[in-house]
Every structure is written in C-alpha cells, then in structure tokens.
C-alpha cells in the first residue's frame, strides 16, 4: 500500500503569548517554537502504522521554505520512506486552494493508494486542503477521520461528527482521508530514525517541475487574501476575580452555592 501524507510546519501557539507584527498582516513569530502541525502528526503516524501492517511506502509532501525540511525530516525519522518539498517563490502567499493546487499537481506524478492529510492546520485553520486535493485528483475523500480499516481495494473510515456521533463510510481506493487528532498516539522520534534521515535527501520540486503557471499558485492563484489581523475582543462579560487565592476560593464558593445549588 503506497501512502502519501501532506504535512505542514507551523508555529506552536497553543501555550504561547502571540502578538501581531508591525505589518499587521502576520503574527510576530520570533521566539515561537515551530513543529509539525498537530493534525499532521496523527496523519503521519497513521500512515506509518498502515505501512507496518500492509507494507508499501510512505511519501511525505510539504509546501514551504527550507524550514519545512525540519518537519519533513521528523516524518522520515518516524518512519516515512521519502520526503518531497514544494518550493518556489511563486508559491508565496497562497491560501488553502492555491496550496492544494500545487500539491495536487505534485501528487499526480506519483502512484498511490491512499493520501492522508491533517483535518486542518493549527495556524490558518482552513480545513480545505485535503478535500480540494481529492477534487483535483478526482478521487473520493473522507474528512475528519478517527478510525481506518483497510479492506480489499477500499477503506472503511469512521468520520467524527458532532455530539459524539460517528459516521461510518467506505471509499474505493485510491482515496484521500483527512485525519482527526486522537486517532492514534504519534510516536517519538528515535535516534535510529534520525540516523536514517541523515542519509536521505529531500527532493525539491518547483513551479516548472509541476507544469503550473505562476498565476495558478501562490497569492495570484488564491481565492482569498488577508487584509489585516486584529485581536479578538477579549474578556467581555468576564468579571476578573482578584485577590488572595483564599479570597477567590470564598467567591467561587458563593457562586457555587448561589448559582449551582451546591449543598
């Protein structure tokens, strides 16, 4: 089973203090740690688990600058066989659609049975790249997948819906699945993995390798464009409790008695 995984390197902002930079169009990324997008870490783990079970290869793709090699190498160290980076000045500023466009063209050149992507990225949160790639490659897709069973020439996938409900669907292969967090436990990178990676070359594909015109990718190939960033209104309505922890505890106690009917 030959599997392709599309990944992205993103700043880790879950616990970080973030601010908007001077351009007003980006966040200040200095001092932020970068890592493989959380959803993608589950996607690559799932691909490697499938490979371990059924054989075949795992090839990782990412669109991005040289920094993205770090995340591609991580995937290789986890157990992927090959990594390919799409890089070209023309790709800059692309939205989800333009990113999918470039990736789809690259994937066309490679035979595969299954493509996995994360359901969305931590930074842009478009949640569209996977489904658009599938559309462009004319293959079926299932999004928000939290369980996979591979069968003869098809895959049974559990899709996470709202309210604890799951939808079970089957799709013919080749297909694309977007992977939800929690589907597995992504492994640690081992030193053995790093040694293996050290000898690997990450192939770079540019615009000319992909049969694309500059106007089809990057900002000019995008549906949407960022105008400016601003901080969401915060703290509206929340009365901030201050004082000694004991005083705060006293207040919480009163709220619980008053509003929660605590005995």
């Amino acid at each position: 089973m030959n599997i392709i995984v599309c990944i992205k390197r993103v700043p880790d902002t879950a616990d970080a203090d973030i601010s908007i930079d001077k351009s007003g169009k980006d966040i200040d990324k200095s001092g932020l740690a970068f890592d493989l997008n959380e959803w993608d870490s589950y996607a690559i783990e799932e691909a490697i688990l499938l490979k371990e079970k059924f054989g075949g290869t795992v090839t990782v793709y990412s669109l991005g600058g040289e920094d993205s090699n770090e995340s591609l190498r991580k995937c290789l160290a986890m157990g992927a066989d090959d990594a390919i980076r799409l890089s070209d000045p023309a790709f800059a500023g692309g939205d989800g659609y333009a990113t999918a466009r470039a990736l789809a063209e690259a994937l066309r050149q490679k035979p595969f049975d299954l493509i996995l992507t994360g359901t969305q990225a931590e930074d842009d949160g478009f949640g569209q790249v996977g489904a658009v790639i599938a559309e462009m490659l004319s293959i079926p897709h299932v999004s928000i997948v939290n369980r996979i069973e591979v069968q003869e020439k098809k895959v049974k996938a559990h899709r996470e819906l709202e309210g604890g409900l799951e939808e079970v669907v089957e799709v013919d292969l080749p297909a694309l699945l977007t992977i939800q967090t929690g589907i597995n436990e992504p492994r640690y990178v081992s030193i053995m993995g790093i040694r293996k990676v050290a000898k690997k070359e990450i192939k770079v594909l540019g615009l000319s390798d992909l049969n694309l015109k500059p106007e089809e990718v990057g900002l000019s190939g995008s549906d949407i464009q960022l105008e400016n960033l601003f901080l969401p209104p915060v703290g509206e309505g929340a009365e901030m409790m201050e004082g000694k922890p004991e005083e705060i505890a006293q207040k919480v106690f009163e709220i619980l008695k008053d509003k929660g009917g605590m005995a």
Binding site: E70, R73, K74, Y188, V189, S190, I191, R195, V197
Partner: protein, 384 residues
C-alpha cells in the same frame, strides 16, 4: 569557526526535547522524588529510542555518535527535569571505561545490554578515606589462581543499588611507586558473592538515582574481568573523567537552563505592586545575568565535547567546563528561587529541587576544587 550545531545534532536535540517533554509528569516526579524511586519506565523508553548509549558504536548497540550528541541529550533531559534527567542519563555511567579500554567480548557482554535498557552500569572509584583523590586505593584485588579476590569499601557510588555491574578501581600492587601505577579496573557483576550495596540516604538531591556504599568481602571474579592493561587503572579512570566530566557539565547546563525557563515563565505571570515582576528592572537584570552565564557555560561545555570528538583529550578544558557549568547551575537555580520568592522554596514549584540537584554537579566526578587543581597544573606545568 562555526558555532552552529549540524542539522543532525539539531534533530537529536529536538527529538530529546520532545521525548522528555512527553514523558514529563510533574506529580509522578514529585512522588518519585519523595520515595527515592528510579524512573524505570522513562529509562527503558529512552533506551529503546536510542538516547542511552548514543555514543556507543553500532556494533555494541549504540548509535555511533560522539559525546557532543550525548551531551545534547543530557542537557535536554536535565533541562526538562533535573531529577529524571540525571537519573536516566547516568544509567550508562562508567560504561565508557569498557567502551574505551575493554575487550570486544566485554563490550558485547556489557555495552549492548546497557544500550538496550537491560543493564544499568556503575563505576566504583571513591572510597571513604579518599574522595576525589584516587592515587591510592584501599580496595585491593589479589590474584588467586584464575580469579581476582577483591576486598574493601567504596562510597558515594552512583547507581550503587541499581547497577547490574560495576567498574571497580582496585589496588593490585600495593608496593607500586607511585601507588597509582599499581591499580587496575575490574568488572564486578551485581549478585557476586561478597558484594553488598547499601543505599546512602537521606540526601540533599538526585533522589531519583541511587547513591550507595559498596562493600567487597572476598569478592571473587575471573581474571578476564580485568579491563584493559594491568596497572593502567588509574590512567583509564582519569581518561574516563575527561569524558564523564563533560557529561556532568551538560547536566549543570541543562539544570541551569531548566531553572531559568521556569523563572522566566513565572516572572511573566507573577504580579507584585500592580505590575508583572518581569517589568521590574531588577528582575530583568537578574534574567540577563542568568542567561549570560548559561550561554557561557554552554559554549565551554560544547567546546569541550567538540574537542573530545576531534580526538583531542584536554583535561584543562574539560575541567573548566565541568567546574563552570556546575557553578552556573547552582547560581542560576539559586537566583531562580529568588525570583519565585516564597513559592520558590516550596517543592511543588520545582526550582528548589533544581537547586538541590544542581549542587551535586559541583561535587561528583571531582569537586570544583579538584577541577581547579587540574586546570592549574595544566597552566603551570606539572606540580610535582
């Protein structure tokens, strides 16, 4: 000159960081600290992932990297948690004596299980009557037929009650002049008749690892347990120190960085007099001093490691790194507690543990005074 780590080294650093971050569990660690428990699961996992024995050759279960890669792991582990970091990265303590001087058979027999997480190793050098001075050993090994018979006592032995085998420095020729020309290193396995280990407790820090007294009473081991050449034990151990002291420097470095990380995080949150304490210049200056010391210790430690990996043994540089990084660990952890104020004194806030763990890096593997002797003698020339 290039101060950058290689891509591979950065990957190793990141892998170590992610692993220890994933395994870090504050409540568990506080529990282990209270009960003096070795973090066995974390150690086993670290071995499985190749972090332990990373500097052993592949044929002996290792990853074929150098001491630079090893100390990157040590630094990251100790940075996230001084207790777990020290305990886990010392699980292969003294294996290097076998690695550098042992026979292929000894390496296969002992190093492979150490890298796999099946064996913990130990080194028995210090004696109750001689601390860092190992020129004359009270522990003797006498040849009897095809065996050595060992008698004596060793103290402050890291991994004492955990290790599966020890490298023991013994006086084999009590009449040798000078005395250190009559010493050998000999392998003794756990469970050998006459070997007894007693935990030394309570102690200030490093409570997740064992520190014990070993007593040898007619302990009989085969002559083939001799490591390397006869009467070269003293020189082997000194050469081992040139390597191990860099690792201890990396412990200090990691502890300092970990204490700093926590202090910085706290300073950004804590408010006093209506302002975040990080907004006070006095806090800013403290942080600047701490960061500068850490960076200096890092440069020295990395340089010592790099130098070793170039095949050059420079006791002066190693001792400088060990002495300075240990001092920085203590000073930075001390200042971190100060930034935390009263909370810093409380176990839950961790920096007091970093402080207690930091102190050992100024003591074991040669006190800072011994390091100064080494540095001075290299500067001035042989003192004798």
């Amino acid at each position: 000159m290039d101060f950058e780590l290689t891509q591979e080294q950065k990957d190793i650093q990141k892998a170590a960081r992610e692993f220890i971050q994933g395994e870090y569990d504050k409540e568990k660690i506080l529990e282990w600290e209270k009960n003096h428990t070795f973090p066995k699961e974390v150690w086993k996992k670290a071995c499985k992932l190749g972090f332990i024995g990373i500097h052993f050759p592949e044929e002996y279960g290792g990853q074929g990297y150098g001491i630079t890669e090893n100390i990157l792991v040590v630094e990251e582990f100790c940075r996230k948690d001084s207790g777990v970091g020290i305990a886990v990265t010392l699980a292969d303590f003294s294996s290097e004596v076998i690695l550098r001087f042992g026979t292929p058979e000894q390496k296969k027999k002992y190093l492979v299980p150490v890298a796999r997480g099946e064996f913990i190793s130990g080194g028995a050098y210090t004696e109750p009557n001689h601390g860092s001075d190992i020129t004359l050993m009270g522990t003797t090994a006498v040849r009897q037929g095809d065996s050595f018979v060992i008698n004596g006592t060793k103290t402050f032995i890291t991994n004492g009650t955990l290790a599966d085998f020890f490298v023991v420095l013994c006086q084999t020729d009590p009449h040798a002049k000078p005395s250190y020309r009559g010493q050998c290193t000999i392998l003794v396995e756990k469970g050998t008749k006459g070997l007894d280990a007693t935990e030394i407790t309570p102690k200030m820090g490093i409570r997740l690892t064992s520190t014990a007294e070993l007593s040898f009473s007619d302990v009989r081991v085969p002559l083939t347990n001799l490591i390397g050449e006869e009467n070269k034990g003293f020189y082997q151990v000194l050469e081992f120190f040139d390597e191990s002291r860099i690792e201890i420097a990396a412990q200090g470095l990691g502890i300092a960085q970990g204490a700093f990380d926590r202090a910085l995080d706290y300073a950004k949150q804590r408010e006093q007099f209506g302002r975040k304490i990080v907004d006070f210049q006095i806090t800013q200056h403290k942080l600047a001093d701490m960061a500068t010391k850490i960076e200096t210790a890092r440069l020295l430690t990395y340089k010592a490691a790099w130098n070793y990996d170039q095949g050059r043994i420079d006791p002066k540089l190693t001792s400088m790194a060990k002495m300075f990084a240990g001092k920085v660990a203590v000073e930075v952890a001390d200042e971190a507690i100060q930034i935390f104020g009263g909370y810093g004194y409380i176990t839950e806030y961790e920096v007091e543990r970093f402080y207690r763990d930091a102190k050992i890096t100024e003591i074991y593997e040669g006190t800072k005074e011994i390091q100064k002797n080494t540095i001075a003698s290299a500067l001035i020339g042989k003192l004798k």
